[in-house]
């Protein structure tokens, strides 16, 4: 539902830009092509890109039996194929999952997570990530990221063409549409990010609940979230592009007021409260 709305939003936006600039479908076409291209490349390569960006390296069964065993156990519980396991050498406790479907999925854990959590807490976190894989959230996430990226690009193209080219009235450019277009070019990228984040937040609660069902032990994940929230070590490898992937916002800097709209995750107190109520 939300994603359909998102797609319609992108289409409407590029149509208005077209009308305003008098490009007769060119911008719609570009937007569509861009989204399609972004969609295809991210479908095949986003997992490798994200893992590379986060400096994650594959875990070997011989050297890290603890990690591999725990991930395998939860994959059995979920009835999923075992995802590829990666570790990020960083003392901040965090984790994320990626991949287009359960057969091509990967889970990355930070070293801090493995050392700071006990087995039950680690199981809770891994179950949360497996739930993202099982619910196809990893694919959804990349789709919304591509859409938000497309909105940002076409808005910028439009704004630039307005500044440098003005309105081409001979070609059917419309002054009213130009004004609406300019306002949208400024507002739309924010709106797109707000949409992306609100989708991301909704999926977090679902993954928490699925993790509780999977481990039959909501306290494990609740305890892990409490520990992660209390930990002040920043995650060096995280950035704005990857923050929404993690189990808990690794940047830990925006939580209040209007910034709440841009949050990738629901407030941690709320997540813990819901887990404890299960």
């Amino acid at each position: 539902m939300l994603v359909t709305g998102f797609v319609l939003f992108v289409l409407l936006l590029s149509w208005i830009f077209d009308e305003a600039a008098g490009t007769g479908g060119l911008l719609t076409f570009c937007g569509f092509a861009l989204a399609l291209f972004g969609g295809f490349t991210s479908y095949w390569y986003s997992d490798k890109l994200v893992l590379g960006m986060s400096r994650a390296r594959p875990v070997a069964r011989e050297t890290e039996p603890y990690i591999v065993n725990t991930v395998e156990a939860l994959a059995i519980a979920a009835g999923l194929p075992v995802p590829a396991c990666y570790i990020i050498e960083d003392p901040a406790p965090n984790a994320f999952a990626t991949g287009r479907d359960p057969r091509h999925a990967a889970i990355a854990l930070t070293r801090g997570l493995v050392t700071k959590m006990d087995r039950l807490e680690l199981e809770g976190v891994i179950a949360h990530e497996l739930a993202h894989i099982q619910n196809f959230d990893t694919r959804l996430q990349m789709l919304t990221a591509v859409l938000a990226g497309t909105v940002a690009y076409i808005s910028e193209w439009f704004a630039r063409s307005m500044i440098w080219g003005g309105i081409d009235e001979d070609n059917g450019g419309n002054v009213v549409f130009a004004v609406i277009g300019l306002v949208l070019a400024i507002v739309a990228p924010f709106a797109a990010v707000v949409m992306q984040m609100s989708i991301s937040r909704k999926r977090e609660f679902l993954a928490d609940a699925s993790a509780a069902v999977l481990t039959r032990y909501p306290d494990g994940l609740a305890g892990a979230l409490r520990k992660i929230a209390a930990d002040t070590t920043p995650l060096r490898v995280a950035n704005r592009a990857t923050e929404s992937l993690y189990i808990f916002n690794p940047l830990k800097d925006r939580n209040k007021g209007i910034d709440g709209l841009f949050n990738t995750h629901p407030p941690i107190e709320e997540r813990i409260r819901r887990l404890e109520a299960m």
């Binding site: 039996p65 603890y66 065993n69 156990a73 059995i76 519980a77 979920a78 009835g79």
Partner: protein
Amino acid sequence: MEWVAIIALCCGGGFVVVAVFLIALYNRLVVLRNRVKNAWSQIDVQLRRRYDLIPNLVETVKGYAKHESATLEAVIKARQVAVDATGVAAQGAAENMLTSTLRSLFAVAEAYPELKANQNFMMLQEELSGTESKIAYARQFYNDSVMSYNTGIESFPANLVAGILGFQAAEYFEIEEAAKEPVKVQF
């Protein structure tokens, strides 16, 4: 003659609808039954893994803790009972026994610092506790699958045909639920 054709058409149509419905029903039950089988084989894989690890563990412990032969024998005996067990219920009971003897073995090992520091022992301990949690989760998945399968064949209208098509209720793998917390060792 026209009404004969209409009746024939209605009967034919009704027959096709019923046939499609029965096929869909049958296929759904087959999927559920296969999931139960697959889940059971997962348990089996993990159980076998545990049986394979135990002799190595016993050998390693023997080298360091010579006075614990009673505990070691109990483990070996429990393993043999579990290997020989047939049927879901008997398997459950035997595994339960094996788990508790292994716990007591690890508790005993606490008293031997050299053994605890042994690389091989540490590896075996991790593998065994990892396998144990895999068995627990495989059992959970199996029981979930059994539940959806049994619900599938018991609910209307599948229950009317399940018997004829040869679908029988599957058995739950019951085992004494161990407390979900790290084992506390007391002397």
